[in-house]
Structures are given as structure tokens and as C-alpha cells.
């Protein structure tokens, strides 16, 4: 969507010049279409890409069930909570079975409890269908909990400062947040980010 400021953007070893369909995107806001039901929202990318209707529909139903929204297919976005809307947008990102999932602070607009719940939900979904997930977050604990690799970036200018490999066992649990290993990862990332300034961005 934006040209790289420097260097080359490679996707599976080939330079990327135009948008690829092999990614699914989840934004900070769910940006669902108010006039479409949950099911029709999930089906939007399939319609645009002209995928087979029957199988797309079956896949949409399976995804909706996977995120725990079975029974809500006919509901409209305004009838859903913020967390539920974000689950729908996750389904929409996965409908065309992309190999990469881009998540740009997807849970930032949610309250802390829903946020935590969705983190585990995401890991459960990921373990069912393993994809490369690029997850941007400002929350260090969230980054370490979710990621195999945390790419810590400096604030303004956003440059990669350090890549931290997180070697916590999967499936990860909430209890891990209190382990020594988790704390030391978290300190490592925090140190990189706060070295210069008070604000920080993390990437997982």
C-alpha cells in the first residue's frame, strides 16, 4: 500500500510491487460494513476475489464457529460488542486462506480483559491453522505472550532496534506471564525501546 522508504520488500523471496492477495489484514478498528450481516461481512473478500461461492460460504461458517460466533451469522455489526466485531474482522481476514496475517494493533481499541481473551483466542485459532502472523502492538506483554520473534522498534524514527526470539513453550498460558523467563524477555524489549525516549512501539 505504501512504497518502502528504503530497500526492497520481498514476499516469499520475490519483490512485492503491488498488493498481494496472499495476506489477510486486521486493523485497529473492525471496520465492518454496517449494512452487511456478520456472514456477508466475512464473505466480502471472497466476493471481490471471485472465489467459489459455495466453498467460501462453508469456510466462512467454519471460521465464524472457530472464533466462537456461531449463531450470530445473521446479526449486524451494530448488534455486536467491540470484541465480537474484531472477531468478525479476523474471520474476514482469513476467508481467502492467506498465508500471512497482518494485524495492526488489532486489540488496541478493546478493554484489557477482552484484549487478553482475544490473545488466547488468536493463539487457539493459529494453532488450528498455522500462518505467519505479523502483529503490531504497543503492549510489550502482549508481544511476548504471542510471538516467536519480537522485533522491537525505536520510536521516531521507527527503526528496528533488536530482534528477540521468545522461546516459551506452546500452548502459552496466562501463568507464564509471571515466570522469570517472561519477565526477562519483557525487560529486554523494554530496555531497547526506552533507551532513547519515553514512548515505544513493539512488533511481534
Amino acid at each position: 500500500m505504501l512504497r518502502p522508504s528504503r530497500g526492497k520488500l520481498l514476499f516469499d523471496g520475490t519483490p512485492l510491487l503491488r498488493p498481494t492477495h496472499d495476506v489477510g489484514i486486521v486493523f485497529q478498528e473492525a471496520v465492518l460494513l454496517a449494512w452487511r450481516s456478520v456472514l456477508d461481512n466475512v464473505l466480502l473478500p471472497a466476493e471481490i476475489l471471485g472465489l467459489d461461492k459455495k466453498s467460501a460460504r462453508a469456510r466462512a461458517m467454519a471460521l465464524i464457529e472457530l472464533v466462537g460466533l456461531a449463531g450470530f451469522e445473521r446479526r449486524f455489526p451494530r448488534e455486536l460488542s467491540g470484541g465480537m466485531q474484531q472477531r468478525v474482522s479476523l474471520c474476514r481476514a482469513l476467508i481467502h486462506n492467506p498465508s500471512v496475517l497482518l494485524m495492526d494493533e488489532p486489540f488496541a481499541a478493546l478493554d484489557a480483559m477482552t484484549r487478553e481473551e482475544l490473545c488466547f483466542e488468536l493463539m487457539r485459532i493459529w494453532s488450528a491453522d498455522k500462518k505467519t502472523v505479523i502483529f503490531v502492538t504497543h503492549n510489550i506483554a502482549e508481544a511476548i505472550l504471542l510471538a516467536d520473534r519480537v522485533v522491537a522498534m525505536t520510536p521516531r524514527p521507527g527503526r528496528i532496534a533488536r530482534i528477540v526470539n521468545v522461546e516459551l513453550a506452546r500452548p502459552r498460558t496466562i501463568a507464564m506471564e509471571f515466570t522469570h523467563a517472561f519477565q526477562s524477555y519483557s525487560e529486554e524489549v523494554r530496555e531497547v525501546i526506552y533507551r532513547g525516549q519515553a514512548q515505544g512501539a513493539g512488533r511481534a
Partner: protein, 270 residues
């Protein structure tokens, strides 16, 4: 749009209860107040013996409306016709033009700024010129209605078509959607609630436009009737015409609001 987008009884049930009650209260309150004001008007006119050519009592207005009912109906139909044709013409021209403006950078930088500037011109002031150019028939009235409706609709449509949230546009672009797909699936539905805001503003202007057109020169319509009956000191009849104009305005407004509910059930309500 599919049939499924129409509200199920389930969702109207849990959220509509409170607003429905408060609406009923507001309607009741307004009705009672209106009746009280009319009664007060009647009493004051009788008490101070105000001559009917100056300010007729509500009862006299009602009486003259009954007496002149066939004329009132005929003239109402003329005004209604001018209003609806002008309004429909404005929709038919301004919505496609708004689409063209949004999709064409050339139009955006040439015609649209001029249109916006023209918007501040009082359109009703053109009415005498229209009479000069196209005479005193129905057409000049329709043109006045068209002019007053055109601007609110084109402005609302243009802003609606450009109101798609940025992330949504990025998502659509990442899927390499065609312009047609983007328009049909995203832009136009996004614009719909905005368009209806424009339509509701336009329809209230439309009746005013028709009356102004009739004031300038005509042989029928409620505006003409007001002009003639005032000049002949038949003030009750002028008031009767005014009542019908008000009713017409209100009915048309709510007709648009009703269509809005059916066509864009997802639009925010007020």
C-alpha cells in the same frame, strides 16, 4: 442489497422500546401544546374582536377551508406536482453528477468549486428571471424547485461517497478490487445515509421553492391562492392554504424518512 438486511423483530424489540416511549411522549406533548395554542388564538381573536381580514380565528379558517375545499385540493395538486417533479429531477441529476465529481479529478477542480460557490446564491432570487426566460407555466416553478433541491443533494452525496474509512479503503485495495466493485459494494452503501440527509433537507426546501415560483407569476398553485386571497382580503383562505402547505411539507418529509428506514435500516436515527 439482500432481503436479510431488513430488521428482524428481535433486534427492534430490545433497542426500540425506550425511544418509542419517548417519541410517544413527545408527540402527545406537542399535540396538547398545539391544541392549547389554537384554543388561545381563538379566544384572543374573539375577546379583542380582531377583524377576520387581519387575523382570522382558527374556526373561521376551518370553515373557509371546507367552503373552498375543491379549489384548495386543485391548487394543492398543482403545488405538489411542481414540488415532486422538481425534486425528482434534482435527484436524477445531482446524484450522477456527484458520482462524476468524486471519480473525476478534473471535475473536482473545475465544476465542483463553482457549484459550491453558487450554493450561496439565493436561488429564489432567480425566480423572476426564470419567468422572463421560460414564462409563467409550470416549468419555471419546477426549475426553482430543482435549483433549491439540487445543492443539498449533490453536497451530501459527494461527502457521503468520500466518507469511506481509510482502513476499509486499504482493505479493498489490498484485494485489488475494481472501481466498480468498490463503488457498488463500499462507496455507494456508505453514501446512502448521507444522501438521505441531503434528501430530507431538499424536500423541505422543495415546497418553499414551488411557492416562491408561484408568487412570481402563475395562475394556480397554493402560492397563487395565498397571493390572490390576501389581495382580496380573504385572509381565512390564505391561512387555509398555509395550513395545507405546512401539512404537505411535513408529510413529504416523513415520507422520505420512511423510505430511508426501509432502504437504509443501518443509518443512525435521530
Amino acid at each position: 442489497m439482500t432481503v436479510e438486511t431488513i430488521n428482524t423483530p428481535l433486534d427492534t424489540e430490545d433497542e426500540a422500546l425506550e425511544p418509542a416511549q419517548s417519541t410517544a411522549k413527545a408527540v402527545l406533548g406537542a399535540t396538547v401544546t398545539l391544541v392549547a395554542l389554537v384554543v388561545l388564538w381563538e379566544l384572543l381573536v374573539r375577546e379583542f374582536q380582531i377583524p377576520s381580514w387581519l387575523l382570522p380565528a382558527p374556526s373561521l379558517i376551518g370553515q373557509s377551508m371546507l367552503e373552498w375545499r375543491s379549489e384548495l385540493v386543485t391548487h394543492s395538486m398543482v403545488t405538489l406536482y411542481e414540488t415532486l417533479v422538481g425534486f425528482a429531477l434534482a435527484i436524477a441529476i445531482s446524484i450522477p453528477l456527484a458520482v462524476a465529481v468524486v471519480y473525476s479529478p478534473i471535475l473536482q477542480n473545475t465544476i465542483y468549486p463553482i457549484l459550491l460557490a453558487l450554493q450561496s446564491m439565493p436561488k429564489v432570487a432567480i425566480a423572476p428571471l426564470l419567468a422572463l426566460w421560460i414564462g409563467f407555466g409550470t416549468l419555471p416553478k419546477i426549475v426553482v424547485v430543482f435549483l433549491v433541491c439540487f445543492f443539498p443533494i449533490i453536497v451530501a452525496t459527494t461527502s457521503g461517497l468520500t466518507a469511506v474509512p481509510t482502513p476499509l479503503m486499504e482493505l479493498i485495495r489490498s484485494l485489488s478490487a475494481s472501481s466498480l466493485q468498490t463503488f457498488v459494494k463500499i462507496r455507494f452503501p456508505t453514501a446512502m445515509p448521507h444522501i438521505f440527509v441531503g434528501l430530507k433537507i431538499a424536500i423541505t426546501f422543495a415546497v418553499i421553492g414551488a411557492v416562491i415560483g408561484e408568487f412570481v407569476g402563475s395562475e394556480n398553485g397554493l402560492g397563487y391562492l395565498i397571493l390572490v386571497s390576501t389581495s382580496q382580503s380573504r385572509t381565512p383562505l390564505a391561512f387555509g392554504s398555509l395550513v395545507l402547505l405546512t401539512v404537505m411539507s411535513i408529510v413529504l418529509y416523513y415520507a422520505i424518512a420512511l423510505i430511508e428506514r426501509l432502504v437504509v435500516p443501518w443509518a443512525p436515527r435521530n
